[in-house]
Symmetry: C2
Subunit: 374 residues, 2 copies
Amino acid sequence: MYKTSKVVFSPRVRKSPYFNSTIKYGVQAFSVYNHMYMPTSYEGTIEDYNNLLKGVQLWDVGVERQVQIKGPDAEALSQFLTPRNIKKCSKGQAMYAPFLDFKGGFINDPVMLKIDEDCYWFSLADGDALLWAQGIAAGYKFDVDIHEPDVSPLQVQGPNSKELMIKVFGNWVNDLGFYRFKEVNHEGISMVIARMGYSRELCYEIFLQDHSKGDELWEILWQAGQDLNISAGTPNIILRLEGGILSYLADIDRTNNPYEVGLDWMVDLDQEDDFIGKESLREIYHSGPTKKLMGAEIPGDPITAFNEERWPVLIDGKKIGSMNALVYSPRLDKNIAYTILSIEHAKSGKEITISSPEKEIVAITVDLPWLERT
Amino acid sequence: MYKTSKVVFSPRVRKSPYFNSTIKYGVQAFSVYNHMYMPTSYEGTIEDYNNLLKGVQLWDVGVERQVQIKGPDAEALSQFLTPRNIKKCSKGQAMYAPFLDFKGGFINDPVMLKIDEDCYWFSLADGDALLWAQGIAAGYKFDVDIHEPDVSPLQVQGPNSKELMIKVFGNWVNDLGFYRFKEVNHEGISMVIARMGYSRELCYEIFLQDHSKGDELWEILWQAGQDLNISAGTPNIILRLEGGILSYLADIDRTNNPYEVGLDWMVDLDQEDDFIGKESLREIYHSGPTKKLMGAEIPGDPITAFNEERWPVLIDGKKIGSMNALVYSPRLDKNIAYTILSIEHAKSGKEITISSPEKEIVAITVDLPWLERT
């Protein structure tokens, strides 16, 4: 399905605190993400997906590096960096809070954790948004300290994740609300435990605060999960597409703005505070976006082709967009895809042609997502 | 020698314009660098090195992305971003011009090309320094446009490189000075050709200005090189260490400043203009650095061990630094290494112990570099 090559381990690229555990439990392939090795496959895309859905799965997502903004102006700067209204976020709460540039294009799409009234973490997708935050802070004279703290996330995914988390950390996990977190010290390991993650399944994210304890934390969870059908997995393209979740640089990039990709709800133009991109977003809001992210379904047998780059999308032989991600979903029994189409064609029920290097593929546009949150 | 795993090709990571050529001519392994696949091996580290030294070699270094700064304040911003005195750089000239943070630590270590009086390129090492430059420019209100242009470097390396360049591009190459460049259109392909590169060998760097022409350019050079012993290669760890060349994130990172790594000559504290980190560098200059990059030689048989991360360096059982890179040099017939040692031990002729996961290795410190420029 995937084409692969070799990747050489070298000190230029960092290892996650869970690296040894991922090797021990059978990781087969990595990518590089935020200057670190990111596991991308154990038994295979479909096998890993099936394993998750029948139990509980550990994902090494240590590559999600944190930008910590702390100090008297932490709230003001955090607000300046994102179109979300972060004044609505309480201590102990998280929210999806993308960084945009002055034209409204995505710099990165982190989840923000409000650690304290004067301390915020932004859990990054791929890209050195630390440099963006530091450059902006220096130039606009925000009184803050910004750095990458020793924090390495691990996700606990799947239907048995809640039972595992309760078993290891206690009954309070029952009461943890969606996108809420708690600071915990367990067996001498400091961490922040949140109810969220990169799927629409039941899931949790553990922000380990001591990189020397990664394998120890993994092993505690692994042993406790022995009767819960525990397995090792990675962020999974099938789960991502089913749930309408975006992968920065794969599905969207700096050429996209929130109105193009279904993130209108995230932009608060009415808030009093200024934020980067506000003026551009107001213009886009009034004139409307010129292109739009749409789902697409491809009738027929399961597709095993995998797009190594974006494929052109055509109507009547004319390019009207691109196909950015494609996979077969076993539980939907459908081939599903993300496309970004020029706005006049971005309606559901349209027949489009996806031009792969091998052949032309006929598809029908649909609204996103295929599956809502569990 | 190297431990490897699989890397999966996906649209999240970009391909270089020379990607198909690298596959065609036998690339065996990649890393990921600036969100792109970077070839790291064809026949092997030593074989690729030997091939280069007996002819001419093409290196796909399309991963060196350019930050283009253009506009009325292009010179002022470029100067603010680096401790080099860029007023000494003429149009058509390049200089090594690292970006530092306010504490003097390396953000990146690009080579700058002065394309025009109001236009500069910074050819990046691994890291999104584009975001740094844009954040600084916005906050400090520099009147510039900053973006990543469609520019993808290809290096022509080795003793026969000059002959190949003259054969393809003409006799003017004879007169091209070190770190000088010329804009060229050859067979409809726009490019900037510079006499420089990532080794101390005779070498050139071609900055292709149209990504659709990568394989065409490669093939022109390849065919012209048939009687010049042409081969395909990659940035090579043996050449790097022999020449005392630094690899950002492998050898040095943001915790290092220029005075620690032999780049004192690059810092101009006496220039009138302010630059980021000037105050901190002045303090470090007066108090002296606390640690220093040193070479080290390991007596005995060629070492095949490869450090996947930095290894501790000890004297009398006490940690006094780290060993960041290690390789056997065939032409020196020596095992050579980079270490960063606390300042009181950073003298040549000292016996140190490198603590690898397998065993303790005795080494002797030496001054850098082993080889000067050809």
